[in-house]
Amino acid sequence: MNNGGGENVRDNNSSSSNNNSNNNQDGVIRKKGQGSGGGSGSGSDDYGRAITKIAVAQICESVGFQCFQHSALEVLSEVAVRYLRDLGKTAHFYANVAGRSDCNVFDIVQGLEDLVSSQGFSGASDVNHSISSSVVKDRKPTPSFLQIGEVPDKEHIPAWLPAFPDPHTYVHTPVWKERKTDPRADKIAQARQRRKEEQSLFNLQRRLACNGSSAFASANTVDDGKAKQVVQSNPFLAPPLQSGEKEVSPVVPPAKLSKEPLVNSRNSVLDAFAPAIGTANTGLSDSKDDDRMVLPNKRPILNFQLGVSKKSLGLPVDLTLQNKLLGETTQLIGRGDEKDDKKRRAEQILKESMENSRELS
């Protein structure tokens, strides 16, 4: 190789000036007006080129080559010179971009990154980031419209350009909390609520029916054998009954007085709700206490206040139910204008109850 160095110099001088070649593989390297100051031929840079060839030859030797072809060595040295000059030019360019005339290490790093563009040192061009900590990786360019299979929106965008990012990456849409809805559970809850509504409504009606008008009597469900008569007319619209016109079931005295069940005669509103009553009772008896709602069995006890009424018309009806063993006790605060009618009825009822108790006792 030492001899080769000397021969190289001679060969370089000879081959660069004329077309002499020793074998078919030699070629003529012609510079395109490069670096030689625009001079004729290649004269001015011979010395530098020669030294470059020696250096490149030494590098090849260190790699493992034992001999080389002249032309190959020349090409390689040319490549080395080009590389050096490109690196210097790029570093100088970056220094100018940063507003400096002198280069520093980061300019060189950026220049290196430019020249080795296919295998990138990611983040090496960051001023605050060193190239030594980067990882060599292959950069994948953004796929073009054609590669994705999309058509650009606007006409002026050719399809071979990189595609736009997905809109979800830059559009912020509001997010709502998703409530898990179970339709089956919803239906079940809805049905349960409806049943509760019906039940409460029915209870209200029942209380009204028992406590409101005396035109109907309670059915005796304790006996379980008696059928209930169906109402044919609205008892509320019927003319008031005269005393003795209609048999009214006796009032169950308070628990302390008597514990006998009553005979039922007629029941209007309760008959209309008979199926519901039956189901309600069974349902209630299942879930609640047995002695709480035995409503239609016994006739509620009406306690009237006889005397001068000082109550206004807008008094609410107090429908408190008290649990008794056999019946219920309700208190009704009557209105002043209905007092005469109720008074008559109450007297009649009391009379009958007293008669019953006398009979039984």
Binding site: Q34, V56, C60, C67, A72, V79, L84, V105, S133
Partner: protein, 159 residues
Amino acid sequence: MNQQQQQSIEGKQQQQQDDDSALSDFLASLMDYTPTIPDELVEHYVAKSGFQCPDVRLIRLVAVATQKFIAEVATDALQHCKARQTAVVKDKRDKQQKDKRLTLTMEDLSKALQEDLGDSLATVKTLKECVGRMFGVNMKHQEYFADSPSTGVDPVREE
């Protein structure tokens, strides 16, 4: 959020400090190693491009980078050469078994440069086109050159 940002910023700063220290250590270690390409040569060529720096370490950094580049190309060419030798040996065993001399040939070099210079040159077949395209060097290869009637019968290889 602020804490996270601060932590990320601190992590980055720490990393930057590590990087800076690594870089400075590397530059310091450059002084121990003398690159194959002389410093004056590198200075001469980079000065032609406008790169001006009084710091020797940067010059050495450039020299090391260039050396690495050339070594890569040479290594690839060497592998091509070795691959060709092993293929040749299988065919002819009567003659010299192995050409013990690993020679840098134009063919291997062209392939190595073609690989090294990226996918954009995948369609380029020969070194001439490759060098001509990348570096602006127009290297013409004469299809045939005969200075005597017997030229080309036995291809002669130079050393």
